[in-house]
């Protein structure tokens, strides 16, 4: 599935929920299902902190694709983190940089990624893109040799 298709799937899954509390219940479920992050990475080096909640993000390049691991201490944030990992993990840098995250808007969670919402999510998305850029640059450099 492409990055776009994965997002469309998510939007469809969420479309059954009209009530906010139902959406949150689903996010809580997703958050609980998110594979545990390697405790070795749950430290200050990988911490993207917001004022309200903490987000940890680790990235690794494996066979041309970026594998993300992430976690948050707030469960609703963790649910959104789970979605972001689902969409972005196992993708090439080009896929990550070449696609926008429309699903956030479409499931109604734009407020969670606004700059005022200091829950670390916006910073996490930025960091994911930065990782993609860094890995892409590294790739291009080694290709150019």
């Amino acid at each position: 599935m492409t990055l776009k298709e994965t997002q469309k799937d998510i939007v469809e899954e969420f479309s059954v929920y009209e009530d906010w509390l139902d959406k949150y219940n689903y996010l809580i479920e997703l958050g609980n299902e998110l594979p545990l992050m390697d405790p070795a990475y749950k430290n200050n080096e990988y911490l993207i902190s917001g004022c309200q909640s903490k987000v940890w993000l680790h990235a690794e390049m494996k066979e041309g694709k970026i594998e993300f691991q992430a976690d948050s201490d707030a469960i609703i944030v963790k649910g959104i983190v789970a979605l972001l990992v689902k969409v972005m993990s196992g993708r090439t840098p080009e896929e990550i940089l070449g696609n926008d995250l429309f699903f956030i808007d479409e499931i109604g969670l734009r407020q969670n990624l606004s700059p005022t919402r200091s829950n670390g999510l916006l910073a996490m998305v930025k960091k994911m893109r930065l990782y993609a850029m860094a890995y892409q640059a590294k790739q291009q450099k080694s290709n150019g040799k």
Binding site: W20, Y24, S53, D73, A74, I75, I76
Partner: protein, 412 residues
């Protein structure tokens, strides 16, 4: 005991006075419990501000034409209203600022310029809002002075014994909050001021939360400075007050330079205007100041005694209701408190609970409330805070309680 109703305190009428309260959020009635962050404005204040801008706007203190004379007059009347409200001795002691933060920064700067030298000490408390920590930190850094902190206990009360030990010959000023925005504690400011004054040390009181809830009499307190914000006392944003004892203010240099605070300007030497204008550089937020005065007038019209009694009822009720929720831990439980309740829910991140409450129409605040040292004291990352004022109701406390129970159900 006089019931608020008997004193003319009509909660339904009061709520109608505040246009913003009647709305729905996410198709649910707004339950606004974030008054510690900012308060709503009564129609009287909104109308005053609109009227000023529609009909009377004009620069103050400078013009000779009709509009400017009128506006100057209203501005100075607003100053007198504030003077009366906090029982200051003279309107020379009332300086209009941009808010409590502006007031404290200004006082710290001016006081520091005159009185703080290398090796001196400034005393604050562990429960301070960042606005009453950072300006003093900055001052201490500039001057090579030392910032010292009066600790709190686990009930959220100041450890007064520490105060006595920490005051010494190098202490230049004590800066403390009247009522804590994160713990709800009302501090024994009169006692602290007396102790400090015995040693000739002045005291600045940060009163932004307190003015919302209780009577502030600066002469009775005998504080040297008192700072508060308009937007926390049902007035407009961008305005506030710094009260300072006249004799002290006379001694201090201004914290901002510019127009109106001067008497005579040449490139060689500039002399300053008299009080209070010395401390009001530029075109002040005169519309905001007059808006603030109209908020104070509104409060007096509602009746301060009725307000206090209603809030006392809210505190009593909320304490019982919140205390009855399993897994809810109140942060700070001083016997003398304002209607601010900070709490944590066992095993639940405050952010998650806050987000769920939000979708039920309940507006609370989550996080550190700009009091990170308080959070550090209790070893937590943040709390959920419900802060009530006189336009909140018992029914809203019930809604909060139900909302918390629902959030616990979803999250635990």
């Amino acid at each position: 005991m006089n019931k608020p109703e008997l004193m003319g305190f009509d909660i339904l009428k009061i709520r109608r006075d505040f246009p913003i309260l009647g709305q729905q959020v996410y198709n649910k009635p707004l339950v606004y419990l974030d008054n510690g962050a900012t308060t709503h404005k009564p129609r009287a204040v909104i109308d005053t501000m609109t009227e000023l801008q529609e009909k009377h706007n004009s620069s103050i203190h400078r013009g000779i034409h009709y509009l400017s004379e009128q506006m100057t007059d209203r501005y100075e009347k607003a100053r007198e209203t504030v003077r009366r409200f906090i029982n200051a001795a003279s309107s020379n002691e009332i300086i209009f600022t941009s808010g409590a933060t502006g007031s404290i920064n200004g006082a710290a700067f001016s006081f520091g310029e005159k009185y703080v030298k290398a090796g001196d000490e400034v005393l604050v408390t562990e429960m301070e809002h960042h606005s009453n920590i950072v300006p003093w930190q900055m001052l201490c850094e500039r001057k090579g002075a030392k910032l010292r902190v009066i600790p709190i206990n686990d009930r959220g009360e100041l450890i007064l014994d520490s105060l006595e030990h920490m005051l010494n010959k190098r202490t230049r000023i004590v800066a403390m909050v009247h009522a804590s925005n994160s713990l709800g504690t009302i501090n024994p400011v009169k006692q602290v001021i007396r102790i400090a004054h015995e040693r000739g040390i002045p005291v600045l009181i940060a009163g932004a939360q307190m003015v919302q809830h209780g009577e502030v009499d600066v002469r009775d307190l005998d504080c040297d400075f008192y700072a508060f914000s308009s937007h926390k006392i049902f007035g407009p944003t961008g305005s506030g007050v710094l009260y300072g004892k006249e004799a002290l203010l006379e001694e201090l240099p201004p914290f901002q330079g510019g127009g109106d605070m001067v008497e005579n300007v040449t490139f060689e030497r500039t002399t300053y205007n008299t009080l209070p204008f010395k401390f009001e550089a530029g075109t002040t937020n005169f519309i905001g100041a007059i808006g603030l005065a109209s908020a104070l007038d509104y409060l007096e019209q509602v009746g301060l005694e009725g307000i206090r009694q209603h809030e006392a009822e809210l505190i009593r009720y909320a304490r019982v209701k919140l205390g009855g929720i399993e897994g809810l831990q109140l942060l700070g439980d001083a016997p003398n408190r304002i209607s601010v309740f900070s709490f944590v829910l066992e095993g639940i991140h405050p952010y998650d609970a806050g987000m769920i409450l939000d979708k039920m129409g309940i507006a609370v605040r989550t996080g550190t409330h700009c009091t990170q040292p308080v959070m550090d004291h209790f070893g937590i990352t943040g709390t959920i805070r419900a802060s009530m004022v006189f336009y909140n109701t018992i029914a809203e406390v019930d809604a909060l309680s139900d909302g918390i129970n629902k959030a616990i159900q979803m999250l635990f």
